[in-house]
């Protein structure tokens, strides 16, 4: 293209530095809006958590309820992420390397599912695993819906596409010849998978897994809709304390803990990914 030849700085000739400073004024309005709508409210939450000095903090952190919820949240997030990674990798490998007619439709479907609300999955579980549903009528009421496992299976269902999308992208870039050569040299499917495919898609796997871990830590819709009694997570506890019991200071303490947990993970993730390079797109 002719334009490519022009990409050397012709237009930059006219005093670039002063213009840059005046141009950054344009960044001010969106930054002010975000400061007012995101930062200011979060600072108030931190302030509110200290209304009774450290007393509220001591009380909340010391409570069994909080510790159980913290452990439960991490358990559910870790188990769901591992499940998503296993299922997502299997599905992506089949779509990419054992293709069948309609595989493209399936990967389109995966893209569409990213934008669906998570509570749909929880709602469907009432009909699939409930006392009178598909499984209930086959094996009787197993009480499965009341256990943390129901939340984990629901989260695996909902978040598997989040792992599959970066994986499918990375797998599409592996030259098919590489696999054929490996196989012709006598590598069995497992060996080719382990030694050729997995090393190539590791950054995508890390990006998808990291994002899933973050989102499952913060997941609320699924837990709310399943409403299982012994699966209180931190976001659920924020809701109960804040909306049902109107105990704002306690809710704010839990919110601060949750935000520190999530942002800590997010920062670590972005740092790790930018060192690996390339796979950051999955977080955007």
């Amino acid at each position: 293209m002719a334009v490519e030849a022009l990409s050397t700085p012709i237009a930059l000739g006219n005093q670039a530095p002063p213009q840059k400073v005046s141009r950054s004024v344009w960044l001010l309005p969106p930054l002010l809006v975000l400061a007012g709508l995101v930062v200011y409210p979060l600072v108030l939450v931190a302030g509110e958590s200290f209304t009774g000095g450290f007393a509220t903090w001591r009380e909340v952190i010391g409570s069994v309820e909080f510790r159980d919820a913290l452990v439960r949240t991490i358990q559910i997030a870790v188990c769901s992420t591992i499940g998503c990674l296993l299922v997502g990798t299997f599905l992506a490998v089949v779509i990419s390397f054992v293709p069948f007619p309609g595989a493209r439709v399936i990967s389109g479907l995966v893209d569409a599912m990213l934008a669906l609300p998570s509570f749909l999955v929880a709602l469907s579980f009432t009909f699939i695993y409930g006392a009178a549903g598909v499984l209930g009528s086959l094996v009787g009421d197993s009480g499965f819906l009341a256990t943390p496992w129901a939340v984990i299976v629901a989260e695996i269902t909902f978040y598997t596409p989040f792992v599959m999308r970066p994986l499918l992208g990375a797998m599409a870039q592996i030259p098919r010849v590489q696999l054929d050569v490996a196989a012709s040299l006598g590598g069995g499917p497992w060996r080719v998978l382990r030694q050729v495919v997995l090393p190539e898609v590791k950054p995508a796997l890390a990006a998808g897994g990291g994002l899933t871990l973050l989102l499952t830590l913060n997941e609320f819709g699924i837990v709310l809709f399943l409403g299982a009694r012994d699966t209180t997570t931190l976001p659920m506890l924020v809701h109960t304390k804040g909306i049902v019991m109107f105990d704002y200071p306690a809710a704010c303490v839990i919110a601060v803990v949750q935000v520190l947990l999530s942002i800590g993970l997010y920062v670590a993730l972005r740092a790790a990914l930018s060192r690996q390079g390339g796979a950051r797109a999955a977080l955007d």
């Binding site: 022009l6 237009a11 400073v21 950054s24 344009w26 960044l27 969106p30 930054l31 975000l34 709508l37 995101v38 930062v39 409210p41 979060l42 939450v45 299997f90 599905l91 089949v94 054992v98 599912m113 934008a115 669906l116 609300p117 998570s118 749909l120 709602l123 469907s124 579980f125 009909f127 699939i128 009178a132 549903g133 009528s137 086959l138 269902t157 598997t160 098919r176 696999l179 196989a183 080719v192 973050l214 830590l217 913060n218 609320f220 819709g221 709310l224 809709f225 976001p235 924020v238 804040g242 909306i243 704002y248 704010c252 919110a255 949750q258 935000v259 999530s262 942002i263 997010y266 955007d284």
Partner: protein, 265 residues
Amino acid sequence: MLLWTKPGKIVTWIAFALVFGVLVLAPFIVVAAAAFAGSWNGVFPSSPTTSHLAEALSGDELASLTVSLQTAFLGGLLAVVLGTWAALAARNAPKPLARFADALHHLPIAVPSVVVGLSLLVAFSRQPVLLNGTKWIVVIAHLVLMVAFSYGTVAAALQRTNDAYAEVAASLGASPARVLWQIRLPMLRPAIVSAASLSIALSMGEVGATIMVYPASWRTLPVSVFALTDRGQTFTAAAESLVLLAVTVVLVVTLDRLRGRSVER
């Protein structure tokens, strides 16, 4: 390719169909089936009916559909404008400032939606700005959550566009406003449209922040679905979720039509 034998392939495909069908696809099919079922006491739903769907499209439930649509359009539109503005401005800003803006715009992704809701509740239930109890607190919650995605989508597209077009136009004497309006924005149109459809789709299904802040007069569709499930009216809840899905798909497909051919590459 990975597998060379016919039986190997077939076994793998059967496993794929089972995992994908049961784990990923079944929940969505089940919700659709339940929406049309009079009862579900066996493996399959029975006594097909459209009465749940009719219920989901009348009275309070219909009202919450219009509430959701208004929230999604208002919140989504504001988020796209703000996100596009920020992405364009950050492109021209000095590096440290641009990185700060980048981090600030990604903050709402890392913060759980329930906490976003709580923070708005704490901030806008007091002076100087009282918004608690109005629809605006819901719209702001949606705006905050969607702005991160809009910013991300447009910023990623900006990285792939060629600055030369804008620079040539400027060197030929086009004013900055004209460069923005006739070069920058048209080149970003596909990204802006995908940002809009993603924002609207996510906003239509948002639960966490909405359930913290919604006033009784501004109940979005997902909140209604939750209220129905809570009361045990799961079939009507399924029908209403199906309405939610259908409306979202129609909106996204319509917006996709506006997207036109990509000019990025």
